[in-house]
Amino acid sequence: MEELLTKSEDLRKVRAALLNVLEDTDELRRSAVDERNKTMAIIENLTDGIILLNKKKQIEIINSPATELFNIGKKEAIGKCFIDLLDIENIPEIKKILIDKDRIRNIYREEVATLDGLHLEITSVLLKDEIEEKGFLIIIHDVTKEKLVEKMKTEFVSVAAHQLRTPLSAIKWTIRMILDGDVGEINEEQRELLEQTYISNERMIRLINDLLDVSRIEEGRLLYDQEDTRIEDVLDSVIEASQEMLRNKNMVLEVNKKETPKVKIDKEKIGVVIQNLLENAIKYTEQGGKIKITLDNDEKNVIFKIEDSGVGIPKSQQDRIFTKFFRAENVTRMETNGTGLGLYTTKNIVQAHKGQIWFESEENKGTTFYFTIPINNK
């Protein structure tokens, strides 16, 4: 009897314990459902389109911004295969992202324009834990407005630059005609002042040209026609045009070049690159200094190198040297006229040719700039 009572007591305890467990489980389940609802509410209410695909690329979750974008009902979409289901002719790039295995290896981002004029930034993330791939998360972010603002900004610079050229031309022509004696004699003092004014005005014209180049970089229309050319030929014409500058500063220019293979380049733009680098070397090197240019190639690249014995770039400012409008402190004190746009433009031109640009520099010893242009950049 005693034994029976003990057992029954035990059973009661077990029952109570089980009930407790059940209660806990139920609470956990409820909180899990709550959490899930919360997460779904967050996903649903994001302004970006979100699509979660499982391993087989079937849709598991799709939020309203995404269904709206693809013009599809949510119920219809869930569980279906993404590519079969959605009419995404409008955004072919999404399809490409999903088909191309290389692109979805980890994280991939691309901006695409839809046929109805939207600009979307599409990010595809591969979801995985240590063991296996779980699926893909696709995030669609509308950047139409940002794109528009960017475009307006660039157009503004371009229009403003063109508009500025007209009064600058008027100033240039007027001063030149006075200096040329077209409107009568002037005295020596007047001549000197006008000559200084003319030089200032020329600087302004040059600044406007640089600004126009920058606006083209930002529009992504930097390169015009590219043809097979020997960089050597471009180099020769730049050196030819820089003779006066070199003579004025009494500088020695040493050129070591070998016959490098032809590369596909925009001749004029590469000319700008070489000219910018050579002009910088001349400007930022003391009278009588030395500049050395080497043109060489390896299997993959044509390599251009320009070495000067100039003022160098302070170490603390080296990481900003290619930034738009940046000028190093030691050169702003030298009374040289620069806009801070030369190296920015230069870097963008080299990169538009799929090349690289870098430098080594030590203050008061000199600077060496290098750039490469790939031989097979077709």
Partner: protein, 122 residues
């Protein structure tokens, strides 16, 4: 005989400056302030050289050039574009349409423009 130059330019001050320069250099100068009157003046006075701006009220310089080159009576008259446009696309477009040269105003002095006219007139 004095060579006739027609200047098509909408900016009053630039027009006056260039006219003054050309007169100093003993040219017979006529000017027009927009594309339409410019085009009819080319036909009317048959200048030896046309200096043509591109951004003009009404029909623009490119259209003036295109129409002039389509008209056999005036197609042979050399046209120098003198503009502040100057991107490669613009220059190439001008050359394709048959411009004798393309000069960016802010990059050349009046004397250099005159020198160009002299070269073209031979």
């Amino acid at each position: 005989m004095m060579k006739k130059i027609l200047l098509i330019e909408d900016d009053k001050f630039l027009r006056e400056l260039m006219v003054k320069k050309l007169l100093t250099m003993d040219y017979d100068v006529t000017s027009a302030v927009d594309g339409e009157s410019g085009l009819s003046m080319i036909k009317e006075i048959k200048p030896d050289v046309v200096l043509l701006d591109l951004i003009l009220p009404g029909i623009n310089g490119f259209e003036v050039l295109e129409k002039a080159k389509q008209d056999p009576e005036i197609a042979d008259i050399p046209v120098i574009i003198l503009s502040n446009l100057g991107q490669k696309e613009d220059i190439e477009r001008g050359q394709k349409l048959g411009a004798a040269d393309f000069m960016i105003k802010a990059h050349f002095t009046p004397q250099e423009v005159v020198n160009k006219i002299k070269t073209i007139l031979g």
